[in-house]
Every structure is written in structure tokens, then in C-alpha cells.
Symmetry: C2
Subunit: 589 residues, 2 copies
């Protein structure tokens, strides 16, 4: 070991080390001079140790007095007890300090472009922090998140390995099979005019591995989609990809429930109850107005069509006459919290989701305070009180429209109310997880005038619905499932089609002609023909999992080198222009 | 559990299960009819179980008689002891068979395009097997290799996690910094005319993580190089990438020796001795004529310059006069194995490596049998006998040329002789591992008329050679090291430059102008300025490791979905033409 190298990390020294001569290496976190002494908090990934310069050696003191923030040094000296009353209970090393006898300056540092403290850098402009990402990554909170991410991935591998899964790598350079999102393309130098596509997911490869008999596959896989970015989306993302043969949905649920329990235990030391509730799509759309309900709070949507029909309120009656729905939320005890202005804001939320308006009732003892009260006969009022379990002080909110608009608008209102009424504590490590099942296989796309796959084209329809595949696609439910957590979809999967005939029919429902799907997915149809086993799987969005377990809402916190919201890496400048020689080689110039 | 689902795998049943009713799912591996019975070997990833149809149920027998190879079935029945004498000791399940009471055909299979047995498919054309990769992947030998690969990766992660390393993902979409190999490029849709590059390695990102204080990083990382392919090269490959802070070479050696020991133990149950020998570049070039010597056999190259000077052989004297070398190999006991034709073939090997010829001596008792015998005075002959430990029956081979040619030609001859003389058993799991150190930092490229980096431009020169950096680059040795195993380089790394000033100087030696390296590597120079710690690391070629541990020489055996030697995926057809809409979006049409 070279003389300058550490014998201990900056998080390691305790009072049991007192009297030993040790060497630490690290960064100057803070420094201050006092009475001819220099105190430095020396930092590395493992912690902070106070080191004290009070040497008679003028060379040592000269270096001590030249130090600045983020200088990298090696310091050798004796571990000493701190003076009584000077211990720092917040530091694991807080009972000791190092009396420096020898110091080496390993590297200097000019004044950083922003202060690297949680407080300071929260103030710094994010673009500047992304440009100097290597400095921002020094923040303890980001180091903690990346350690959490490591722990989650390690637990995934331990758990699935123990359950008999094989991790298999699938190609990055694949074939473009446009369906849904845009592919990133890579020009071939050997075959000018031909392109590879970067994977949006390993979906087809994992199905082929099942056909090949690998039985239980997983991969923590990088995926890429060239989509318009949003605050919580990056061009590349990571997913846990799982596939199993000879399974039904419950087999996959069991594996993922085991895994989830272990992830929470290992990374947050939290016990999660399994099995997770299985909720049907129709049910969660009715009760929560969302296929990814936040179950941390109850407040369910109640169907009021029957009562609405007994009122004289034209908006209700018209919606029902047109085949729509009237549904309501009861925001318990919220009546006095919403002034006219607050109610207007709620109305705006409903309108964002295409509702034409929002009817409200403030429940008082013996009467309704509401603009629509006059349209509600006493019997209807009584029924509403009963149906909505309305008590004085409650705020009832009604939307009357098509079923889709009613679900979306009340779903959004539910989320808004829960946040405003503090029905849950966003800072609390409280995770409510459920399976949503029985999704429709297809949705009708009014713009494109065709059926589109709700999950993806390889999802198996329920056996009992196969007969409607061509005659009435809207009636077909899928063997598909989403894993939802606190209002987010954190996973999704399905039992796959393993019959070439059914797969071809589904491509047909999606409006593909045989020559289309043969040229795009011929290898899959081949594979299904040559002895494909029943199989299914799931994918979990790993970035989202890390965000939620870390308690952050910024996806860039869980990725070491993220792009900004325009897909630019502000540190390296990528994407960038390239040399014309490179483009010539590719036949592009 | 659905009725058709397996209760056991095809590798699980033993005589302890006799009498139980079980269900198996799997593929028909073989089948034969005999005396109104049908015998099927049912296969899955876990093994093979014999199932017997001899039912009185005509439906069952009808299905049994319709079965073909690779059909997928579910079979329920009673586990029975095989008739005495009919046990199969080669199968773990060989003491039992399943008497089928119920069978379901899960999927059929037409006659496969080639036979899926080790023997049969070895005969099938590799292009055909790549086209139907999902069938070729059913071969047990490939399943074994991919399981081995999984085990190696799992062991790497367990070992490095236990040693305090964090796995951190680095971006796929990065910046093109051409130096060495060609980048794969990805056009940006948002910034037309700008390109991302896929990573050739995470080199710069891992150094930035050290600057950011992550201390111990690793990643099993996918890397891509758009190079002309060879039999053992794929456009995308996987490497174990490791970086550590505050280290010297020996720290990295220790971590990698631990890791290597664990990999061999977990994946092959082999004990590997550590530490590995450290051999200097100059020494291995002299003794083995290669910087990646195969140490499974000894046969070292011997320098004979002094004796050669005492001969009258013009070829020797001219080579020495021109500043070259005369060196030799002693192929012990090989004299009678090489006829004139055999010696001509060895001469051709030498010439391939630019030697002008090959001088040989067959050692006999008391005399040399050799065309050059007449040029060798008795004293020189005696000295050669002593120097080369020559005994009757030995074959001595001499090359006289520039040092580079002598090393390369004798190195190649050493490999050829070892193979022909069976100095090692290629089928034996015998691994000889060593570190090669003290590489030159720079090599002079005669074509480009400039110095190029021997490892890469971020490799630290030895401290004591820094002074020659600009005055005499050829004299500078690097803090670089390769891990070599059985004649292959299986890893390489270095202590990195952590001073911006030295880094700029090295860019200068490589012929880059300040504006060049600023625009390409400005972010690295920035990072080195803001408190970079001393750091270093290594990368191991995971595909090569898997090949060597699996004992295969075909890289496509260790990759689930490989490209062919022209970079084409014969299964999906990638690369392929794309829709013009996709190119329009990218501003490329």
C-alpha cells in the first residue's frame, strides 16, 4: 500500500480507534480556522470525519491554510477523543477526530459553480447542475438514491435467482417493428439504407426464449423510446423484464409478490402485506375513476344513476337519456373548506377532463346547500344521503356525462381532493399495492378509426372471449394485469398468445394485413408454430420504483447521468454533430 | 392452479415419488411406439422424464399416436418404477416413468427445419440455425452455456456487492468521441443533424463517478463497436466494468483475484490459485513473444544474440548489425516429428509474421543436423547446447530480424508448436492466469505518423516517466495492466490520469490540438479540475470469459440472439429498411 493511501474510510472511526495512527483520503467538505487550528470535515461516500490541524510543522499548517472546499487530500495522524462537549451526535464518527501529522494535497478545486450541499444545490438551477453532473452527484441525497437503486437491483437478482430464473441478455441492435412509440434508429454501415432499431422492450425476445424452453427468464433491461419527453420521462429507461412458461396469471402474481416483499424489506426495511388485492378494471374505473387507483385513501366514486333519474335536474336527465352516467364523490367534512373559489377550481379540474360542469352539494343538518337543491325532490335527497353516506359538513360532487368522461373527471377530482384535504401524507413511507385485472383487449381509436391494443398485440384474450375476437372486439377482455402503487402503474404484463392462429387474428383486428404482419412479425409467427408453450410475463418500470421508494418526484434523481427534458445531456453536449467521415461511412452524406 | 399445469418439472421425479399422481408439461423430445404402447421422452429446461401411454382410453391413445417431435403437451398420471433392467442411469429421473392417464396437446409442431440434437444440429448449417434461433436455443449445450453465463454474472454481482461496490447504470445515448473504433450513431429527432453515439465502453462515465465520490463502481455493461466483424467478434458485447478511487494497481489486482477465484468456484467448482503472477510486458514479449502468453505450457523463447555473433551465419550477423535480435525456441523432443514438409509449414507461420525465414537445428548426440550447421563453429554449438538446454531429439528454431518481428514470429511458432505437440489438452479445464504490467504508454503508428495510446488516452504514465512525456514518449511506461488467461487477453485496465494538466499533455502527445480535445473531452478536463481523486479500474470481456469457461470457441454459443459475421440478425432480418415516415421524422429524407 502506498504511503498516501487510506487505512480507513471517513465513516469508519469510532472511539475504539482512539490512539491509533491512521490515514484518511477524502474531500474537504467544510473547513474553518480557529485559534491557530484548522478544522476540516473530510468526506467520502462512507461518511465524514473531523480532522484537526494544530501541528508545529509549518509545512503541514501551510497546506492546511491553503485548503478549500472539495480539495482532495490524504491526512495521516492519531485518532483522538473530541473534547468533552464537542462530540457530534449526528455523525457516526462524532466522538473522535484526527490530529493531523502529515497531509498531502492530492488534487485542488476552484470554487465550484454551485454549492454542493442539499440546501445550496436545491437552489441552484437544474441546468447548471446537469452541466456539472459530477459535482451534483456528490450530494448525499443522490448518493443515497443510487445506493438504494443498487440495493433494489441486487435484491431483484437475488430473489429471482433463488426462484430459478435465468437472466439472459437480449440485443440492443434489433429490428424496427413500429407499433405505438417511435423507435430510435441506428444506420448500418455494412448495409446502406438499412437500420437497426434500439429496443422499446425485450418483449419479442423474451417470448422467443420461452419458445426455446428457457422456462423462467428475467433481465434488468435498458429500453429506449423516441417519444416527446415529459418531466418524468427519459429517452432511455430501465425495466425489470420477466417471462415464465406453463403459467397462468396467479403464478406470475405469486413470484412478483414475493419479489416485492423482498425489495421493500431489503431496501427500506418495510414489511409489505401479500397477496395484493386483485381489482377488476371495470371496478376500479367505477370506484376510483382510474385504472391505477391510489389506495392510500378510501373516498370512492358512487354511482347515482338511479336517484339521478328521480330528480328534475336537466343535466342529469340528459346525460342518462344519452346513455351516460351520473356519479358522485363524498368529500367527508370538506364542505366548509371549499369556498365559491375553491369550488370553481374543482370545476376547472373536472372540465380539464372534458366534463361540462360539476354539481356540488354542501350537506347541512336537515338540508342541502346547493345550486341544484331545487331540482332534488325530498325523496331523492333522502336517497342521496343514504347512498353517499352523507352527513352534515360533507361536500358532494357530481359529474353527469358519458361514462368515460365521468370516470376521468371524478378520478381526477378524487386525486385533487385527497391532496388538498391531506387524506394521505406524501412524506410517509406508505405503499398501497394492488393488481388490476380484466382489462379490455382493445380500445377503439376514434382518430385512427381502428381498434388498437390496450396492452400490446401479443396479449392473450380470455379464452371465453375468443369467439368475439372478430365479431365484437370491444367485448373481449384480456389476460392482462397491471401492478399499481399509490396511484402509479409500476408494472404491467399479460399471459401471451401462444397460438399462431390467434396471433394472426389479433393482428387482423388491429387492422394489419397478412403481408404487413408477416414482414414485421413473421419470425414470431414462425416461433409460435414450432412448439410454443403457454407463457406470460410482466415488466416493472425500475426508474419509477426507485423514485417511489426513494420518495422523490424527479426522475433525474434516480439516474446517474440523465438527459434534460429535451433529451440533451448537458454535461457532454450529446447529441452533437459528428465528423463528415462518420456520415460518409454510413452512406448518409 | 389450472388442471393442465405441471406439479413437477421434467427433471424432478425420483423413486421417492412412486405412486403419486403428478402432471408434467414439456416438449416431446423423442417418441416410439411398441406393443400398443407409446414411449415419450418429455423434456423441459430441468431434464427429461419418460412418459408411457398404455391407456385403455382411446382418446388418450389417439393423442399419443398423433404426437411428433417438439409437440408441447401436458400429461397427468401415476409415477411408476421402471421395469427392472429398463432403468436409465444417464437420466436423473431414470428410475421412474409416468403412466399417462390424461394428456392435453398444448401446441403442435411441424417437422423442424433441422434436428434439435447436439449431433444433428452440429451438422446443420449455422445460417439456418440462426434463422430459427428459437429452435437452436433448445439444444442442451446452449442452455448449459446460458445458465453458466447467468451464474458468472450472479457471482460477479454477489462478490462485488460484498466488497462494497455499487452497480451504476451509465447512458446508452452518449456523445461520439471518435478515438480508435467506430461509433454506432443514433440520429436525434429533436435536433436534426445531431447524433448520439452508442457507448464503446463506459470509460468516461465511470471516471466521472469517481470524481463524484462513488468510490467503488461496477457495471455489467453493454458496449458497441461498429468494426469489421471477425469470427469471434459481435457488434455488441458485454463487459464487466470496474472503477475504484484512492487505489494503486495492487488494490485492483486484489479485488479481481478475489472475484476470479469466486467465479471459478461458483461456476465450475474449480479452485484457482491467487495471487496471479505479475509479468512485465518486456519480459513476456521476450519469453513468449506475446503480451498475452499462454502459460499452460513452458517452452520459452531464448535470446541468442551473443552466440549468434560468434557464428558465421550471415542472416544472424546482418540482423544483429541492423540492431535486430536472434532468438530461438527449443521444441523438446520434436526433431523427429517434423519432416522437411513440417519444417516448411513452420517457416510459413514465421513468414506470416513477417520473418524472412526460419533456421532450424535437429539436435543429435554430438552433432547438429541443420542447413546452418556449417556456419556454426564448435564453440558456438556448445554454447547453444547449453543456452537452449538442447538434448538429442530436440528441435531448435531461430528467427533473426527486428525485435518486433522476432517476438511476433517466435510467439506464433510457440503457439503452433504447442498445439501440434499437444503440450496442453484443450479439452481440459486448465486455466493459467497472470497479470501483464509495465506496458509502454504509447506506440508509434508508422502509417499515421503519430503516437497512439497503447491502452487509451486516460491511462496514467508511471510517475517516474512523466518527465519524458513530451520529450520522449516512447520511453514512457504506463500504469496499465492486462489480465491474460490461456493465451487470451480477458481483461485490461489502468490507473487513470487524475490531473487535468497531465491529461492535456497526453492529448497533446497523441497529436490533438487544444481546441480538439476541449470540444471532445472538455467535460472530462472540467471534472479533473474540480477535485478528482486518484482512481483506476479494469474491464473484463464477459463474452470471452463465458466462452473460455464453457470451453467453446464460437462466440455465438454464449449470446442468446447473436448477429452473424456480417452483423445481420438472420432471425428478425435486422438491419432492415424502415418506413419513410420514420426517416422524415429524423430529418433524413
Amino acid at each position: 500500500m502506498a504511503e498516501w493511501q487510506r487505512t480507513h474510510t471517513c465513516g469508519e472511526l469510532r472511539d475504539t480507534h482512539i490512539g491509533q495512527t491512521v490515514t484518511l483520503n477524502g474531500w474537504v467538505n467544510t473547513f474553518r480556522s480557529y485559534n491557530n487550528q484548522v478544522f476540516v470535515d473530510l468526506r467520502d461516500r462512507y461518511g465524514i470525519t473531523q480532522i484537526v490541524f494544530e501541528s508545529s510543522d509549518t509545512e503541514v499548517m501551510k497546506i492546511a491554510n491553503s485548503l478549500g472546499r472539495e480539495f482532495v487530500i490524504s491526512a495521516t495522524g492519531k485518532v483522538s477523543a473530541r473534547l468533552s462537549g464537542k462530540e457530534n451526535a449526528k455523525l457516526a464518527t462524532g466522538k473522535v477526530e484526527l490530529k493531523v501529522e502529515k497531509v498531502r494535497l492530492l488534487n485542488g478545486c476552484p470554487t465550484p459553480p454551485f454549492e454542493i450541499t442539499e440546501f445550496g444545490s436545491e437552489l441552484a438551477n437544474e441546468d447548471l447542475r446537469l452541466q456539472y453532473r459530477f459535482l451534483d452527484l456528490r450530494r448525499k441525497s443522490i448518493q443515497d438514491v443510487l445506493q438504494l437503486r443498487h440495493r433494489i437491483c441486487k435484491t431483484i437478482r437475488d430473489s429471482l435467482d433463488a426462484q430459478g430464473f435465468l437472466e439472459v441478455e437480449t440485443p440492443l441492435l434489433g429490428k424496427s417493428t413500429p407499433e405505438g412509440a417511435r423507435d430510435y434508429l441506428v444506420p448500418s454501415r455494412v448495409y446502406h439504407g438499412e437500420w437497426y432499431a434500439l429496443p422499446q422492450s425485450p418483449q419479442l425476445y423474451k417470448q422467443l426464449l420461452m419458445v426455446a424452453g428457457y422456462d423462467k427468464y428475467f433481465q434488468i433491461a435498458r429500453c429506449l423510446r423516441d417519444e416527446d419527453l415529459r418531466a418524468d420521462r427519459q429517452p432511455e429507461f430501465t425495466q425489470l423484464d420477466v417471462e415464465m412458461s406453463f403459467v397462468e396469471m396467479e403464478d406470475i402474481f405469486r413470484v412478483m409478490e414475493n419479489l416485492t416483499r423482498q425489495i421493500f424489506k431489503e431496501s427500506l426495511d418495510l414489511e409489505i402485506q401479500t397477496p395484493f388485492p386483485r381489482l377488476s378494471y371495470d371496478d376500479v374505473m367505477l370506484r376510483y375513476g382510474s385504472d391505477k387507483p391510489d389506495l392510500r385513501y378510501d373516498m370512492q366514486i358512487i354511482d347515482c344513476c338511479d336517484v339521478a333519474n328521480e330528480t328534475e335536474f336537466k343535466v342529469f336527465k340528459d346525460a342518462l337519456a344519452a346513455g351516460g352516467k351520473v356519479r358522485a364523490l363524498n368529500a367527508k367534512g370538506a364542505a366548509e373548506k371549499y369556498s365559491r373559489k375553491g369550488l370553481d377550481e374543482l370545476t376547472e379540474v373536472a372540465k380539464t377532463y372534458k366534463a361540462k360542469g360539476l354539481a356540488w352539494i354542501k350537506v347541512e343538518a336537515g338540508k342541502f346547500n346547493s345550486p341544484i337543491e331545487k331540482f332534488l325532490p325530498a325523496a331523492a335527497q333522502a336517497k342521496l344521503r343514504e347512498l353517499l353516506k352523507a352527513e352534515p359538513g360533507d361536500l358532494l360532487l357530481f359529474v353527469a356525462d358519458t361514462e368515460e368522461v365521468v370516470c376521468n373527471a371524478l378520478g381526477a377530482l378524487r386525486t385533487t381532493l385527497a391532496y388538498q384535504l391531506k387524506l394521505y401524507d406524501p412524506a410517509k413511507k406508505d405503499f398501497k399495492i394492488a393488481w388490476v385485472v380484466d382489462f379490455p383487449s382493445f380500445m377503439y381509436d376514434e382518430e385512427e378509426k381502428r381498434w388498437v391494443a390496450n396492452h400490446h398485440p401479443f396479449t392473450a384474450p380470455k379464452d371465453e372471449h375468443l369467439e368475439f375476437l372478430e365479431s365484437d372486439p370491444g367485448k373481449v377482455k384480456a389476460k392482462a394485469y397491471d401492478l399499481v402503487m399509490n396511484g402509479y402503474e409500476v408494472g404491467g404484463g399479460s399471459i401471451r398468445i401462444y397460438s399462431g392462429e390467434v396471433q394472426s387474428k389479433v393482428f387482423g383486428v388491429l387492422g394489419m394485413k397478412p403481408e404487413d404482419y408477416q414482414s414485421r412479425f413473421g419470425f414470431l409467427l414462425d416461433a409460435l408454430k414450432f412448439g410454443a408453450p403457454p407463457h406470460g410475463g410482466i415488466a416493472l418500470g425500475l426508474d419509477r420504483w426507485c423514485m417511489m421508494l426513494a420518495g422523490t418526484t424527479n426522475i433525474r434523481d434516480v439516474i446517474a447521468f440523465p438527459k434534460n427534458a429535451k433529451g440533451r445531456d448537458l454535461m457532454t453536449g450529446a447529441p452533437a454533430s459528428v465528423e463528415s467521415r462518420q456520415l460518409r461511412d454510413l452512406g448518409l452524406k
